[in-house]
Amino acid sequence: MTCKEFLALLDDLIDDEVTPGMRTELQTHLGRCGHCEVVLNTTRKTIEIYRSHEIYDLPTGLRERLHAAIMSRCKKGC
């Protein structure tokens, strides 16, 4: 397997959507290619960081304003 072929299957590996046979091939490639190992690990880390950090705080008072807006619609006929 070449690095290009590995890269084409990177997402499937990360999302655990590879067959056992394909996984073995990918692992074999990883065992002898430090570069692809770095790409795999840092791509996984990239996803994890974005998943676990709140980068946009919810504005204060937004929920209350929304609640008031919904109640006002409700009074108009729900």
Partner: protein, 215 residues
């Protein structure tokens, strides 16, 4: 009509908890809608902010999306998850908001995606074991914001829906009106571009630490 279900521990199919809440709202219980709002407000605000890249617009979009969903609740079919239905409304509202801001120019999620940047990884040095710990919370958030804002919109939306908000590939495709292969291709490029861009920050800090410039 089939109801959205989740697999219970015992292996039996149970209705998704949102189904009961939606039924309550339809029955006139507004407080059940508050529960749904609290459950999904953060996700909707994040999605709106990622698409509009503007805080005020994101606030308006979130509010409009929840109001629209409330008013159109009768149209919710129940054969998709309430959350993905809500996300679809928020994505459409966000794109409409962008269109308004750009004085009517069509806004498409296909914009700016003709780039090969990051498709072939160039930065191949490893990161520190927990690179985010080298930064304060606010500094890290700023780095993550700047980095993702620099992605082409068509990649950014796919990454946010799929990787941050947890939609499946199929749900992301349906929400954005894209094919599954198109979502997969964009997701790979989005992940690789983000990785490449983040590498700059995480390496620099790591190298500085190794040379003793930064502790």
């Amino acid at each position: 009509m089939p109801m959205p279900t989740i697999q219970s521990i015992e292996g039996q199919l149970e209705p998704h908890p949102d189904v009961a809440l939606v039924a309550k709202v339809r029955g006139g219980d507004v407080s059940a809608y508050d529960t749904l709002v609290r459950k999904y407000e953060r996700q909707l605000f994040r999605i709106a902010q990622h698409i509009t890249q503007n805080r005020e617009d994101a606030e308006d979009v979130m509010q409009d999306a929840f109001l629209k969903a409330y008013e159109k609740l009768e149209q919710f079919q129940g054969n998709s998850k309430f959350y993905t239905w809500l996300v679809r409304i928020a994505v459409n509202e966000s794109l409409m908001r962008l269109r308004k801001r750009r004085t009517g120019r069509m806004v498409s999620i296909d914009e700016d995606i003709e780039t090969d940047e990051g498709s072939v990884p160039r930065d191949l040095a490893d990161w520190a074991p927990d690179p985010e710990q080298n930064y304060g919370q606010a500094e890290l958030a700023e780095i993550l914001r700047k980095t993702i804002q620099g992605l082409p919109q068509g990649f950014r939306i796919v990454f946010v829906l799929r990787d941050v908000e947890g939609l499946s590939t199929e749900e992301t495709a349906e929400t954005l009106g894209l094919s599954v292969p198109a979502v997969k291709s964009r997701l790979l490029r989005a992940r690789l571009q983000l990785r490449e861009r983040l590498s700059r920050y995480f390496h620099k800090k790591k190298r500085l630490m190794e040379t003793g410039i930064v502790k």
